[in-house]
């Protein structure tokens, strides 16, 4: 093998490595986030996985644990949000209309661009 061949191989390998890093799953949006929006403002954003946390105000309490998210408590009259159950996939959401709170799971490379319901 010539010295030049080695150099060519090295350049191609380096490029491949760089491309791999640039487009690795982590950077390509594989990480999902739990987002809470209240009155149109984002009030909470944490990774879905590896988190044991919650968001709460005087009217609602959202729990994030082991890759699952649910509305633990709400002071609204219809309790639709509490009965929505758990979510854990990008694109899913829980809404509390009376208190104007929305919880959704976001990921840059989600399988869907929207859901009609």
């Amino acid at each position: 093998m010539k010295k030049g061949d080695l150099l060519i191989i090295a350049i191609l390998l380096a490029t491949a490595a760089l491309l791999f890093l640039a487009f690795s799953p982590r950077d390509a949006g594989g990480v999902a986030y739990v987002v809470v929006i209240k009155d149109g403002r984002q009030v909470f954003r944490e990774p879905l996985h590896g988190t044991d946390t919650h968001w709460a105000d005087a009217h609602n309490r959202v729990v994030v644990r082991d890759g699952r998210v649910w509305m633990e408590w709400s002071d609204c009259a219809n309790q639709v949000c509490v009965h929505s159950g758990e979510i854990g996939e990008a694109g899913q959401q829980i809404v509390c209309l009376p208190n104007r709170v929305m919880v959704r799971i976001e990921a840059a490379n989600a399988a869907l661009d929207g859901i009609t319901y």
Partner: protein
């Protein structure tokens, strides 16, 4: 040797460019502007796949808020609120236009979609902020049903006046979201946004294509899945609106029966013909909104026949036994996403 090195660099650079151009990287998805507001009694999320679309989003939200203020039957000060309270009202051009379209859709569907459904929705109060759990007495249902008739709305195009008969009421809930989506769509188009998804409480508009040039992938909610968000099929859409009516959106259960918010105006009771979800795809969200209600009420056969008679519209209907019926024009753009459902 140097020549070879230059060649290798060129190959590497070409490779990098190809990957970047293919848009498979995060760059394609990260350049976006997205905002959520609570409007029209639901959640509205507008997302433009470009970084500088803030003003477009603001203008669209403002227009949607304006439509809510004009057309909400729950707001006594709205034009529709005044029409219902006083029996007659002068309407601004756009409210008149939407009411006229609603009445046309009512005529087209033989009243399966009917904007004068308010006496029924008021009586049943399904999906309000307080929990309704009672079925109203049959005589009250009949009294309310008798007040529902789109043919009794008088429109005067010269003065822009609408007049109702005594006791009647207009509820634009089955069409205003669709119109608001069309108006937001117009604003995005005027501002030259080439790639965006609008979601007005489940009324979706897929503008242009994804940033990578492929059609948008829009799921249709699985009508029987808990939690919300699971989907039974995926549609490939481009410059199209999709609207779904389902029995799972607002309902209560009594004596083992589900009472949802879409009324059969010929009986006064929630429509019960085996349909649990009806999705309409169209270039026009206002049409899609009204048709989704009409198809839900008409059932599979009459519903699909109606959709096929309207140019540029397609439909997918799900029945209780998890069968999916589709118009021919949409079949090759449907990807089933749940093994529980079978496309007929």
């Amino acid at each position: 040797m140097k020549k070879h090195v230059r060649k290798a660099v060129a190959v590497a650079a070409a490779l990098a460019c190809a990957v970047a151009a293919a848009g498979c990287g995060p760059q394609a998805g990260e350049e976006r502007t997205t905002r959520t507001r609570f409007l029209l009694g639901t959640v509205v999320t507008l997302t433009a796949y470009q970084s500088d679309a803030g003003e477009t989003l603001d203008r669209a939200f403002e227009r949607i808020g304006q439509i809510e203020d004009e057309m909400s039957a729950h707001k006594p000060d709205s034009q529709i609120g005044r029409l219902n309270a006083e029996g007659t009202a002068r309407l601004t051009a756009d409210v008149f236009f939407v009411l006229e379209r609603a009445l046309n859709m009512a005529a087209l569907s033989g009243g399966a979609f009917d904007p004068t459904v308010l006496p029924l929705s008021r009586l049943w109060r399904i999906g309000g902020e307080t929990k309704q759990i009672k079925v109203p007495p049959a005589d009250e249902v009949e009294k309310a049903r008798a007040l529902v008739d789109y043919k009794k709305v008088a429109l005067d195009g010269e003065t822009g006046t609408a007049t109702l008969e005594k006791g009647m009421g207009v509820d634009m809930g089955g069409i205003a979201k669709g119109y608001a989506a069309d108006e937001a769509w117009r604003i995005f188009r005027e501002d030259g946004v080439k790639s965006a998804v609008l979601d007005l409480g489940g009324n979706v508009v897929a503008i242009g294509t994804r940033p990578d040039g492929r059609p948008w992938r829009i799921g249709i909610r699985d009508p029987r899945a808990q939690p919300e968000g699971a989907h039974y099929a995926v549609l490939a859409l481009s410059d199209e609106a999709a609207v779904t009516s389902g029995d799972y959106q607002r309902y209560f259960e009594a004596d083992g029966l589900r009472y949802h918010h879409i009324f059969d105006t010929s009986t006064g009771y929630p429509a019960r013909n085996g349909v649990v979800s009806a999705t309409i795809v169209s270039k026009d969200s206002t049409t899609a909104d009204a048709l989704s209600t009409a198809v839900f009420v008409l059932g599979v056969d009459k519903g699909l026949a109606l959709v096929e008679s309207v140019e540029g519209t397609e439909a997918l209907v799900v029945t209780e036994d998890k069968k999916v019926y589709a118009t021919p024009g949409i079949r090759d753009r449907v990807e089933m996403a749940s093994t529980e459902y079978t496309l007929q």
